[in-house]
Amino acid sequence: MGSLLGDWPSFDPHNFSQLRPSDPSNPSKLTPATYHPTHNRTVPPPNQVISTEATNILLRQFYQRAEEKLRPKRAASENLTPDHGFKQPRGSFPDETSN
């Protein structure tokens, strides 16, 4: 029959009997519908590379909570890192130990 489906086995030999093979010299008039975007708001950045996150979801959760916990609530004025060049001598902590 020369159908598009060739000689594939079929449950009922009369199935697909209406199908006409496509003629290569007379291409079908139907063109598949294509869709084009009308704007470019959602164009990805030109050198975007999508890859898997290296840390798994559990570790991401731990890091997220650590960040929330350790993010200083006040900006800059009371940061903990001591001034450069001024090392506290061993035995005293960098805060008030009185009262």
Binding site: F11, N56, L58, L59, R65, K69, L70, K73
Partner: protein, 573 residues
């Protein structure tokens, strides 16, 4: 997806209708093995579900017969390796390692009614199923093989075994050791090539104590060994050539060059002290030098303890904006408990990935006793590369429990290499297991106690769960008290252990009879190994009964499933 309009010639098929937008998909999951195989050939499974689709065929491939009373060698059977290639046994005197290759009996039946076919007489012989590969002596002198310890490095087919001498209680705390931890004169780890029994490398720990199950965690090629006595986590790498390579030791030091830096600093301080305090008597200078040595118990906290304290401190510091409140908070939460935190020791460790460790901290009493209920316990997440503590929780922390409930399967750090290890049923990846957990949770009277109980299983021991599809909760329902994926010895019962299909809740797929049922079982030790090998599925159950007269008898019960290729259409309906 197209819908199939041709009805399948199926008597007991299950039809599931799935709405995908406007198309409806009819998916047959029949009980007929042959039709399922044919369907697998023509139908693409949903993306990313190849392992699940393959596993579902195990609903049809179940053990169907039991062979009793097989004479087997007098050995202590330990475990099948997870890839099913080797059976690991130890000699009764715990000196030798004997490894068998499962070779399986092959048998086919061409009759109309295969069920009435008897297995040949050679099916009753141990040698028909297992071939001995080698017998290698691991322990010499007064050493014994630690029979509870075996780790399998799957990539290279290496086996990790441990031998140790006897435990010395009340060992003196010398050389930086912790008081109260026993000592073992020599612990040796042996790396054995499983195919031929060649011992590739050994690692010896002297006058050390590594805890129950040797405190070892294997992740891919990285090994973490916790020395309880010296409070160090040794990280080793197992090379492809079969050598142990020391990567780092975490404890008193975090980075590889910390020790060098601190020693050189100590030298410098000694010189300064000597210059400044020349008039003082000699013992003062000695006291000065002692203070520079990082002995646990002195106020100079180094290494991982320092990281831990700074994490706790910074967390409390950042809680309050007001300076006075801050100080109050610190006094209450940090300084008040300072000594308690300083007394904490590393108990157990596991990998969360190649760079992160989950460390359990506790008290010395918690280290030596088996029950950790009354002892305090804390968990910390440590990044080995940046040497930072990321998280610190007490064992009653609800936040940690919340993470455990949602991401339990990520706590079981399964490396990328063994695919099937990612599909073990936990309550975070299986709805039936989650339901069981919810039942337990709803019945509990005290939620903090429940949290402590659940978190007591952390850190997990590696390779302690069987990846067998028969323990997949989506496929089978079974009594968790009688059998489960964990490699734990259980009290056996006379009742057969039933595996019921999940899809057909009334259909018993197969059952395992744990014993012959006609003996008074005093103490039963059971070791169950379950895996697939080519065309036949073997369940080997080894039991030792202590009979009424005190004698020990060993039975190896093998259940073997034989697929008859010619008759597989009607075989499993």
């Amino acid at each position: 997806m197209l819908s199939s309009t041709q009805p399948q010639p199926q008597s007991q098929g299950t039809r599931r209708k799935k709405q995908c937008g406007s198309a409806s998909v009819l998916m047959f999951k029949g009980n007929n093995l042959a039709s399922r195989v044919f369907e697998r050939q023509i139908r693409t499974p949903p993306p990313g579900t190849s392992v699940y689709s393959a596993r579902r065929l195990y609903e049809n491939l179940v053990p169907s017969c039991t062979i009793y009373d097989i004479e087997c060698p007098d050995l202590s059977f330990r475990k099948f390796t997870d890839d099913g290639q080797f059976l690991v046994c130890f000699s009764r005197n715990h000196h030798d390692l004997i490894v068998y290759r499962p070779t399986w009996l092959s048998f086919s039946c061409k009759d109309e009614d295969c069920d009435s076919c008897d297995l040949p007489s050679k099916a009753k012989r141990f040698e028909s199923f297992f071939t001995q590969l080698y017998c290698v002596s691991l322990a010499s002198g007064n050493e014994l093989i630690c029979k509870d310890f075996f780790l399998y490095v799957e990539n290279n087919k290496f086996g990790l075994f441990a031998t140790s001498t006897a435990q010395i209680h009340d060992a003196p705390a010398i050389g930086g050791a912790i008081q109260g931890i026993p000592s073992i004169e020599k612990i040796t780890f042996h790396l054995v090539r499983m195919e031929d029994g060649v011992i590739l490398d050994v690692k010896v720990f002297s006058n050390d104590y590594l805890g129950h199950s040797m405190g070892v965690f294997l992740y891919d090629d990285l090994l973490a060994i916790v020395s309880l006595r010296y409070q160090t986590v040794h990280i080793l790498q197992i090379r492809d050539s079969g050598n142990f390579v020391d990567v780092r030791g975490i404890g008193a030091f975090c980075r590889e060059d910390d020790e060098l830096f601190l020693n050189s600093h100590a030298q410098c301080m000694i010189t300064l002290d000597k210059n400044k305090l020349r008039e003082l008597p000699a013992n003062h200078i000695e006291n000065g030098t002692q203070q520079h040595r990082h002995i646990p118990g002195t106020f100079f906290l180094s290494g991982i303890k320092q990281r831990l304290f700074s994490f706790i401190f910074r967390g409390i510091w950042n809680e309050q904006k007001d300076h006075t409140m801050r100080v109050q908070c610190l006094k209450k939460k940090f300084y008040f408990h300072f000594q308690d935190y300083a007394d904490l020791i590393i108990l157990k460790v596991q990998f969360l990935d190649r760079h992160h460790l989950l460390i359990k901290f506790g008290s010395v009493e918690g280290a030596v006793s088996r029950s950790t209920d009354q002892h305090p316990a804390f968990f910390a997440v440590y990044n080995m590369e940046t040497t930072e503590i990321i998280a610190f929780y007490q064992n009653s922390a609800e936040e940690l429990y919340y993470l455990f409930e949602r991401y339990c399967d990520h706590f079981h750090a399964a490396s990328g290499n063994s695919l099937y290890m990612n599909f073990i049923s936990f309550h975070s990846n299986n709805i039936h297991a989650l339901e069981q957990l919810r039942n337990v949770k709803s019945k509990t009277s005290s939620f903090p106690q429940f949290v402590k109980k659940m978190l007591a299983s952390l850190p997990f021991s590696c390779q302690s769960l069987s990846p067998s599809p028969y323990f997949d909760q989506s496929l089978f329902r079974f009594d968790e008290k009688l059998i489960s994926a964990t490699d734990r010895h259980r009290q056996s019962t006379d009742h057969p252990i039933k595996f019921i299909s999940r899809r057909h809740p009334n259909l018993l797929r197969f059952k395992i009879k744990p014993g012959l049922g006609d003996e008074d079982i005093g103490n039963v030790l059971k070791d169950l190994g379950l895996f697939l090998h080519n065309a036949s599925i073997m369940v080997a159950s080894h039991q030792a009964y202590i009979g009424l007269d005190g004698s020990i008898s060993v039975y190896l019960i093998l259940k073997q499933l034989v697929i008859c290729i010619e008759k597989c259409v009607s075989f499993f309906c």
